[in-house]
């Protein structure tokens, strides 16, 4: 049941993320991007979360309990940092665009179209 709910949550987050990313409003697109990244981070956690329920402490391993996979948790720590970095860069660029173009509507940011 937990696994199913987890998969459902990832799916819903992914859907919201893609929908928001395709919006005309650049700020909404940036936030959609952050949601999408959390969906994928959750997917990464799910890849190793259900092998065992116990936290991956050495004492639990020595006691022979089935622990969850610690490696994915280490990996998504990096992924979260990377996603936060790109998210803040997107927001920074949107901020400058809103000042330079006086709008955050992507239909109006079209100076490149010659």
């Amino acid at each position: 049941m937990t696994e199913f709910m987890f998969a459902l949550a990832i799916g819903i987050l992914f859907g919201i993320g893609v929908f928001q990313l395709l919006r005309r409003d650049l700020i909404k697109a940036a936030i959609g991007f952050a949601i999408l990244f959390s969906a994928i981070n959750l997917f990464f956690v799910a890849a190793g979360a259900f092998e065992g329920e116990a936290p991956p402490y050495l004492s639990n391993v020595l006691a022979g309990r089935a622990t969850s996979d610690p490696l994915v948790q280490a990996l998504i720590l990096t992924a979260i940092v990377v996603s936060f970095g790109s998210f803040s860069l997107v927001l920074g660029i949107v901020n400058i665009i809103s000042k330079r173009y006086d709008t955050v509507d992507s239909n109006d940011v079209t100076n490149l179209k010659h």
Binding site: L21, L75, S86, V90, I93
Partner: protein, 502 residues
């Protein structure tokens, strides 16, 4: 035993250089000096690495002493070392260009550190043996190049940066999704370990999906057909030293990933279907890239479209498969980096003489009469090299690629490849004539007295000449040896220390 420290040196030198450049933020001149010195040291490391790989076989470095497949391991096999060598060589030229560049964005204290961080990302992507580290390196490279384009002198740089980061982040997300799928099915992210599992004939449920997601991410990074639309804008608006790097070595990261995908990870039946897909996409890229380059209004934009076409040539070579065609694709990828970065720098030098720093043909028409005469000859040489005219290295790469096509007997694609070479000649000669042969228009009469230095592009064109004549034979031998090792994944797997059953 953690392994060969040269690997760590090639990766850590630009990182340390970036930190030093950040510390020297008060003096722009000192920053530029640090940049050039860092590039030269990183080049020495990677050259040493290339020599050692060919002397002693695959070199590894286990980060933190954690042995593969559990720890993160840096691996230099013949292919990775060759590409890392190419990247650091071009980066030396790029940093030399920044030393004499008059762009306003060059005076920002963040420029040099970001430029060096991009080198960390590039070298890291080529030398890592771990898919997750590949993701981190590619993201580092993307973030650095986006920030640099956003602060470009070109007023459209910001918009191109936004366009690219949204598209590229989407690609990165799918790369991460593919990596997560890989981990869920294989329980490891070490490329050698995955290759070993796949070689045993095991086909886990998610593996084909993961392969496709990785392929899409790599295609996006090298701007291949369905994912190409950001590329001309982004490469045109970037500051000159950066656009020379973007169009030559940053797109090669995607090519590197595709090479790895079809020669190490998914050899066998998946590779066949991937290769068929790649040659179709490559042909589309060749045709539309060449035609797009013919009708552009801006010399830099023309070269960006030309990159779109040239990556198509490489993909067609990979798509043909087989030793001869892969040698062709590899030589093509190697030579293209030198030609394209030289040409973009030359166009940047031309643009630096105009009032508003643009390479738009309306502004640079006939400008050549007021520029140093050497510049015109260098542009002509670079254009001929791009089109594949004999004494230059473009000829060697075209020859190697066409040999691969003949070897495969794929005459339709071969005819397209040869015909596109003529298109290349057309647009390069047209650009050269417009800039250097015609009388200036009244609107283009005004020039600045000084522009950027031509030392860096001059060196690159010299390398092109040398690669086309003296070093042509050694380069082909090197590529042949590299492909021989690439086509036997066991060499890579054993080199990482995961031999039979281990």
């Amino acid at each position: 035993m953690t392994g060969n420290a040269l690997l760590l040196g090639a990766l850590a030198t630009p990182l340390i250089g970036a930190i030093l450049a950040l510390l020297a933020a008060r003096s722009n001149h000192r920053q530029r000096l640090i940049g050039v010195a860092t590039g030269a040291i990183a080049w020495l490391f990677s050259a040493g690495l290339l020599a050692q790989v060919h002397e002693y076989g695959v070199q590894t470095y286990a980060l933190g002493g954690w042995q593969p497949p559990y720890g993160i391991v840096l691996v230099a096999d013949a292919f990775g070392a060759l590409f890392a060598f190419m990247v650091t060589t071009i980066m030396v030229a790029g940093l030399l260009y920044t030393y004499h560049c008059n762009d306003k964005c060059m005076t920002y204290p963040a420029f040099l550190p970001l430029f060096l961080l991009m080198e960390v990302g590039l070298v890291g992507a080529m030398l890592t043996g771990d898919l997750f580290t590949l993701f981190v390196s590619m993201e580092l490279m993307v973030l650095a190049s986006v920030s640099l384009t956003a602060i470009s002198d070109d007023q459209f740089g910001l918009e191109a940066a936004l366009k690219y980061i949204l598209i590229s982040s989407m690609g990165t997300l799918f790369l991460l999704l593919g990596i997560a799928a890989m981990y869920a099915t294989f329980g490891t992210l070490n490329m050698a370990d995955i290759a070993q599992t796949l070689q045993s004939g095991e086909r886990p449920f998610l593996a084909p999906a993961a392969a496709l997601m990785l392929l899409c991410a790599f295609l996006l990074k090298s701007a291949v057909f369905p994912f190409h639309f950001w590329q001309p804008d982004f490469h045109t608006t970037a500051p000159t030293p950066l656009s020379a790097m973007l169009s030559s070595i940053v797109v090669k990261v995607g090519v590197y990933g595709i090479f790895r995908l079809v020669t190490l990870l998914f050899v066998g039946e998946e590779a066949d279907s991937l290769e068929r897909l790649l040659s179709v996409l490559g042909v589309i890229g060749i045709v539309f890239g060449s035609l797009g380059a013919l009708r552009t209004y801006n010399a830099k934009r023309m070269l960006a479209y030309s990159t779109f076409a040239q990556i198509g040539f490489i993909l067609v070579g990979i798509g043909w498969g087989g030793t001869v065609a892969l040698v062709g694709a590899l030589v093509y990828a190697f030579n293209h980096a030198f030609i394209k970065s030289a040409l973009l720098m030359l166009m940047g030098v031309v643009a630096s003489y105009t009032k508003i720093k643009t390479a738009d043909f309306a502004y640079v028409h006939g400008l050549g009469k007021r520029l140093p005469p050497l510049l015109g000859w260098l542009v002509l040489l670079g254009g001929l090299s791009l089109a594949g005219v004999p004494p230059l290295n473009g000829f060697i790469s075209k020859l190697a690629l066409i040999r691969g096509g003949v070897d495969n007997g794929d005459w339709v694609n071969l005819i397209i490849v040869v015909a596109a070479g003529i298109l290349t000649l057309m647009y390069m000669i047209r650009a050269w004539q417009q800039i250097f042969q015609q009388a200036p228009l009244p609107s283009t009469a005004e020039t600045k007295p000084t522009g950027d230095s031509i030392i860096a592009p001059f060196l690159l064109i010299t390398i092109c000449l040398l690669l086309g004549t003296v070093f042509a034979e050694p380069l082909l031998q090197l590529a042949g040896e590299t492909v021989r090792q690439m086509l036997d994944p066991q060499i890579y797997i054993a080199g990482v220390g995961l031999g039979n059953g281990g």
